[in-house]
Symmetry: C2
Subunit: 180 residues, 2 copies
């Protein structure tokens, strides 16, 4: 790999540190190694008391106007569960109780791991937060399949449906046809 940063200071050189087995971004002056790791997205498939599922229409890029689950990057100083609940509040003003982990999806190409929880809304009133144009509760057979923002939204909705029908409680991962 080549020097990725046009700068004369800080981590700017890819080399294999002593005792390591792959190239890392390092500082040639002080030896600091800037490890790059996948980022965590936390999200929820939340159902209302009548089993309808909460989706948000995106007000921000990418995929403005398309439907997504409440989800976003996990922050420092929170648990994965708290992050998922925070995103549901920020994007849909949703208050909910998590009922278990639905899935871990590894999106290797975009350096992302998604932790998606199942949840039930503790109150049915929801409303758009600043990153949503609109929020809406859908029955499973009325979901806007052609207007979903990302493939993982499709995966999570189908996995949640499968878990909902069967009582299956094991965490799902990438569908086998999509090995990240």
């Amino acid at each position: 790999m080549n020097n990725p940063i046009d700068s004369n200071a800080g981590p700017r050189l890819y080399r294999i540190p002593d005792g390591d087995d792959r190239e890392r971004l390092t500082c040639p002056d002080c030896g600091y190694v800037a490890y790059e790791n996948p980022r965590i997205v936390v999200g929820v498939v939340a159902r209302a008391s009548d089993e309808r599922i909460l989706l948000c229409r995106r007000a921000i890029p990418p995929r403005i106007g398309y439907w997504t689950l409440p989800a976003g990057y996990m922050e420092l100083n929170e648990t994965a569960e708290h992050g998922a609940m925070r995103e549901a509040w920020e994007e849909a003003r949703a208050q909910l109780e998590l009922t278990g982990l639905l899935a871990i999806y590894s999106l290797a190409r975009i350096h992302q791991v998604q932790l998606i929880y199942r949840a039930i809304l503790t109150q049915d009133e929801v409303s758009a937060g600043p990153e949503s144009q609109e929020v809406k509760l859908f029955h499973y057979d009325e979901l806007p399949w052609d207007e979903l923002a990302f493939p993982t939204v499709d995966w999570a909705l189908k996995h949640d449906h499968q878990a909902h029908l069967s009582g299956y409680t094991k965490a799902f991962s990438n569908p086998t046809e999509d090995e990240a």
Copy 2:
């Protein structure tokens, strides 16, 4: 927060970017935002055909000489599952088959999320990799509880035992007394 990096270039100033709600490390010259997120550790509780559990005695800091599960930072360009299997190979030359997710542990204070899988060894021969002094298979009632490297090793061994006895397949999270 104060300027964390003693440099005149690159991300070096904490401020709240437009449209955000918290301080981020930014470059005052070009506006680049260096988001900081929790890092993912992937690991396994692996059992041999006689149900013994694989542990590694650490050859590297921290906690040299203490026992741990095969685990380490997830790399870019791999799935969580592949990362867990890679760590088992690197630290214990173990070949295994994952049987499901055991737990997600959120260690908010150290900015870490651990994804721990259950596994069975596909061959019982294991040996120490470069980061291990020794590897060994233990029956559950012979585990070295007083010489475990980290609290999460204790959690994972107990959760795996509970899952093993009960057939419970739902992913565990932090024990309630340890809310990260």
